[in-house]
Symmetry: C2
Subunit: 411 residues, 2 copies
Amino acid sequence: MISMQNNLKFIEGGGVTTAEGFLASGVHCGIRKNKSKLDVALIVADRECSAAATCTTNKVKAAPIVMTIDHLQNGKARAVLVNSGCANACAPGGMEAAKATVDAAAAAMGTQPDEFIVASTGVIGVTLPADKIISALPELADTLSRDGTGAAEAIMTTDLFMKTAAVSFTLGGKTVKLGGIAKGSGMIHPNMATMLAFLTTDCAIEPALLQEALKTSTDRTYNRISVDGDTSTNDMAAILANGAAGNPIIAEKGEDFEIFRQALDAVNLKLAKDIAKDGEGATKLITCSVTCAPSEEVAVLVGKSVISSSLVKAALFGADANWGRILCACGYSGAEFEPTLVDIAFSSPAGKIAVCKSGAGLDFDEEVAKKVLSESDVTIEICMNDGTHSAETYGCDLTYDYVKINGDYRS
Amino acid sequence: MISMQNNLKFIEGGGVTTAEGFLASGVHCGIRKNKSKLDVALIVADRECSAAATCTTNKVKAAPIVMTIDHLQNGKARAVLVNSGCANACAPGGMEAAKATVDAAAAAMGTQPDEFIVASTGVIGVTLPADKIISALPELADTLSRDGTGAAEAIMTTDLFMKTAAVSFTLGGKTVKLGGIAKGSGMIHPNMATMLAFLTTDCAIEPALLQEALKTSTDRTYNRISVDGDTSTNDMAAILANGAAGNPIIAEKGEDFEIFRQALDAVNLKLAKDIAKDGEGATKLITCSVTCAPSEEVAVLVGKSVISSSLVKAALFGADANWGRILCACGYSGAEFEPTLVDIAFSSPAGKIAVCKSGAGLDFDEEVAKKVLSESDVTIEICMNDGTHSAETYGCDLTYDYVKINGDYRS
């Protein structure tokens, strides 16, 4: 989907502070019991930014989500304050607690409260300990730097690895950078925005176009992953664009806007796949590649259904080529299609094996299938033979550890 | 919902042969490798019956489903032939294999092939070994009896216990009986019909009304359970009514029809709850009782979302009172409601504990909650405080064993 034109390049080790003019920090404020676990992060731009966010579609929205939607009405923001360990959702006094932290952070940074994007992740039903965050603000401010790893670490919950990505590209003769951080790894299901992702760019772009680019990119990336089918109360993807790159401001749709979208998609896709790969308890990333579909909508419906199936996920954990469950998941996806046209194959770095042709099983070598499916990066290839559209969706396997992690999350 | 009027009574040990005029048998024909596992069953009525079935809504339908829908166009049938170990779905020659078995069975029983309801359950993608079933027909015919346990056992796959139920009730001065058998226990998700259930009754009733009663009852019972969110390619609930009870035939809606519906609901609800309780790897039955809802549709939407949530299911496996996940699942159910009105409590034989009031967490005793949730029969009570409607849905917990069973189902 993304062609590598206009010098679009990934930056090794890049993240939320790769774009010019952004600083970040992450410290331990005491929400998490483990003192070595960073639990609050601050991201600050050197000036007022165009800003946009996509938020959860869950009817139950956490206080920080409600506050951020309000703050972004003017399309402007300058900083992000985010904590892990407490979702600040469904708890008395949640809005007051969020307000207290943002007011204090704004005073500390010399900005206005409504210039803050605010987010939380963690247990639902516990009031945010605002005092702990407020006490940590001096340290957060003092440690702001061009190193974004503290912030990337502070937003992690059950994540096993940090999710960061950044690209550079050329726009109007200027080098522009765009990077971000994200966290998973449970309560992840494609339905508008998902999980937390914070992106920064030094691109100059109008807020309305930034919002449109983020919304479209979210649909193509985060909304195409699933870990467990649960859409969180706290999902948010947000972006700040400070214009420091000096490119001619993107104020209308056109070539520059398309280049920006490609860069944004590239970073979001990398972060989204990292979230799927690091799904709670997961041992492998599963990509479902649906091709020759009658429409992109059908390809996405079918692919989401397959990566969300508990039976498919458990079979892949066991490296069992149980393709019947895949065709079954296509069948209840809600998509209109002809099952007798469908071909299915598995592929991975260990090879490729066809298992179903025209809706019926093929004789295949179980040993080879086991080898293909034992890799940590497996693709389910579904060819619908009924059109020219395609889509990729991303998920992970269902493992003992998912059950273990979620049987006693609060302890 | 079901009042115990008209002498509606459960019959201890009753099942698919409790109604007058029905015989059944179950034998091992060799589809399953384990020689002690019965894998094919026959149910036969003493005369032509009114017959009805609800079948899977999956776009991918197994051959026996397609055949049964065709056979029941005239609303009549006389026998059921069903095997476990092979779903006869998505495999070359599936329809021919189904036809061969039914033709042979009809010849053996002296009936017509189109008087057969035919069903299969097991692995998808393998052609039905028709010869094995045909070879077993003499034994199936010879062992037909008033004992329905062989048939109940033969349809089991990963089920741990047989699911049978029967009731008697009075209609027009006559005693009428209705009973059935069902099987779970994976690929179970509420979407029209589900899993396999076979019901027999000696009630006299016209086919069109039988179909309507079965459809409504399926919506209220089987369609309100979920084990893993996967809607099978082979789901079927079917009923035969031979009229042997001698009641005035039910040919229009009225009091008799309502009495029949209550009896049908009672048997189906018992079988549905047994399927949920015996979900793959499950350690407990979870009932979600939604009350004071603005409509029954909202109550069902919310309840289905809660019992289908992997996070809720894993928390209950761990006896963790993580109610935030419940409110979160309500939030993404698609139902319109006001989260700040919702109260949540847990109850079980060990007691009851309120955990959420008006959408916000209550202080509660974790020890007491643990005790309540450690029972094998737990109810999540959700009061929406926004109407007078209610609904119950049924599910089970998500356990290590679910992953184990489904990581290597085909071996």
